[in-house]
Amino acid sequence: MAFPDDTRQPGTVPAGVPLRDRLGEWVDRHARTFFIAPCVTLILIFAIFPTIYSIFFALSRVRFTGSGLKFRYVGFRNFAKQFFGSAEVHFLGRTEPVTLFGYAVFAVIVIAVLWWLIRSIRRTTWVGMIGRTISAAMAIFLAWILCASFISGNAIGTLYTTLFYVIVGCAVQFIIGTGLAFLCSQPISGKNFFRVVFFIPLMITPLGVGYAMRMVADVSKGPIEPILNLLGFSDWIWSADAWSARFIMMIGDSWQWIPFIFICMLAALENVPRDHVEAAQVDGASSVQIFREITWPQVVPVAVTVLLIRMIEAFKIVDLPNIMTGGGPGSATESMTLNSMYIWRANDLGGSAAIAYLLLILTVVVCASFFNYVVLGQLRKARS
């Protein structure tokens, strides 16, 4: 009579089974640990531990010595330097003469933010209130810097250069990317060709993009030069003016990242049921109406999520300014990451870590605010 070789049930190990099977049984009982432990361990070692360690760099003056690193505790001096000290103009921009218009705009923003905060007291829990207070404080701080520098006609620093790449860049990329996705979701022929072509820039290294853009934007021997001559820009150098350099940088960034928005929005738009749109068309709705009333409400949750992901990545921009202008003219195109990198090269590890931490705080507050007030709100609306 033939018995099957292996009749054991999971969870039971009868005596006399070989060591290999018993080991397999042990592994299986602890499978949940084995599955998640490598991931969590790697993140702890290479993300959490360095993040905590970074605080000690940011609070110290660090020197390289023969026997390793020497830390000397200096408190918040590395941070204070960015706001009130030697690096103030570099980081915040020139905030000295504030015009009346600047004060007026600041007052309006402060009143709006405080109104929003007071109105939300009744609606949220106290944990939510803490979060809202942090968001409001960050908003007021950023508003003050904006009003004192840009709106009063002064130069902006790396803080607002980074925010310029994030806010203006993301807005432009989102509008163009969604527009292209909408065009490609229409019944046109050659869809697959356009999809592949529009997708390509996302895959190219930012470094290659930087050099390609630098060549294309070259004013003496680049391909755009005859057109510029025709328009009367023959002596114009884009990299010599702060805002034109920033805009060229933003165009390079958009060239690379619009495909990301495009591909995600295209997936969302193609998930919209075809028959809803066609039913509206039969009823005689115009295409603008169809987009506003039917298509858009269904893709909004995806749109805000994509925007959030893009924002998170945009805060980290470093390769493009490093390659295209090296942060110049002056420090006009320097993002905070690039600023931190340059300070690291000057062997000021403490200052570098302090800027990195400020970037972390800025990123977390802005992205968490966006997530809580926009993304979650839209998701809730879509579910209900």
Partner: protein, 394 residues
């Protein structure tokens, strides 16, 4: 109105009227079509032109680059292979056999590294020219880091989709506090890192039971998933300075292992996020019946779950491969001489005294972007099947 008059009026419209008439259901009006194709064509030119410019510049000589814009090969200028020749064959060490030698050297050096606690094997020094060195480094680093990242990340994603986790919040806080203690001890009091780690670990196991009895607040799967995904918010510049110091302490600076591990961790959140949705959408009955038949968890994961999510897995792998091929910041900080990757090598070409040799630079950039464009074309095929759209449901 009879049928004939209707047809007559249809044919009698002017061209202008025909352009703006209401479209049939599921079609576009001719005017909208004209506008749409114009916009798409303009954008295609905008996307493709910089790539085209890089490719033709790599076939120019110095004169054709410096004397102004020349657009068309064979008409404006005579294409040459000079840039490619100087890059790839000028140095006597630069030949295709060198790539093979480089891979052999990498294998030898990794064996030497693994055996270094037991036997001393002299690591071999690279002999080949820079571009082949950078290319092989990039290939090795991106392939290994992608393999680790996808394997580890999808295991965690699967576990979070299928198994209930409930770690105690108090235990995690204890762990973090002990970590801070370790750092203080090593940074300010000069205790050896392994000694303070051992003490902290022992204290942790001692405290876990005591804390678990009193503070019962637990984390759920969703919290852990959110925690892992939120690691993507962390700007790499925050971690790179301590990591530099850490790798210096354990003598891993300027090795492949350092970059492989770092790239894997940096891309882990994306893998977990994408793969979690694929795994959660699989029917659970399959796994339950396999479990009844006596399959182990690892067996189920390896033989049932992974093959079922193969399209999603392929798309994720290609994405991570591209991301680690393009990574720049970690490499700038940590790859000084031996493990220079392609992006670093290209960036270093910037620093010539006689200005940039654009034609040589373009040849290198073309080498760098060709594999990636092939992957882009592959990836869009996956995406057009609606694979990544599963992850975009919100």
């Amino acid at each position: 109105m009879s049928d004939t008059t209707y047809r007559f009026r249809q044919a009698d419209r002017t061209l202008f009227q025909r352009l703006f008439e209401a479209p049939a259901v599921g079609k576009m009006s001719p005017a909208a079509k004209v506008v749409a194709y114009t916009l798409l064509a303009v954008w295609s030119v905008f996307v493709l032109f910089p790539i085209y410019w890089v490719i033709i510049t790599s076939f120019k000589d110095a004169a054709a680059v410096n004397q102004g814009p020349y657009y068309l090969p064979f008409i404006d200028f005579q294409p040459t292979l000079d840039a490619w020749r100087t890059q790839f064959t000028e140095d006597p060490n630069c030949n295709v056999a060198a790539i093979g030698r480089q891979f052999g050297l990498l294998a030898h050096n990794s064996v030497a590294f693994v055996l270094s606690p037991f036997v001393t094997i002299e690591p071999m020094e690279p002999q080949i020219c820079k571009i082949y060195l950078a290319f092989t480094n990039s290939v090795v680093i991106s392939i290994f880091s992608t393999a680790i990242c996808v394997l580890v990340g999808s295991m965690a994603a699967y576990a979070l989709a299928r198994i209930q986790y409930a770690p105690k919040f108090g235990n995690i806080m204890t762990f973090v506090l002990l970590l801070v203690g370790v750092i203080i001890a090593t940074t300010y009091y000069g205790v050896a890192w392994w000694a303070s780690s051992a003490v902290a670990l022992a204290m942790f196991f001692f405290l876990v039971r005591a804390i678990g009895r009193h503070y019962k607040m637990k984390l759920k799967n969703g919290d852990i998933l959110f925690w892992i995904i939120s690691q993507r918010i962390l700007p790499p510049i925050v971690v790179v300075i301590p990591i530099y110091v850490m790798f210096q302490a354990v003598k891993l600076l300027d090795t492949h292992i350092a970059l492989i591990m770092l790239y894997a961790v940096a891309n882990m959140p994306i893998v977990v996020w994408l793969m979690h949705d694929f795994f959660a959408s699989l029917p659970i009955e399959l796994e339950e019946s396999a479990q009844l038949d006596g399959a182990t968890r690892l067996g189920i994961f390896w033989e049932i779950v992974l093959p079922l999510t193969r399209p999603g897995l392929a798309a994720t792998t290609l994405l991570i491969l591209v991301l680690s091929w393009n990574e720049y910041l970690f490499a700038v900080f940590l790859a000084t001489v031996k493990v220079q990757t392609m992006p670093i090598m290209v960036a270093a070409k910037n620093a010539g005294e006689k200005g940039i040799f654009w034609w040589e630079m373009c040849a290198v950039i073309v080498v760098m972007i060709i594999p990636v464009i092939v992957m882009a074309i592959l990836l869009t095929r996956f995406i057009s099947r609606g694979v990544l759209s599963g992850a975009m449901k919100g």
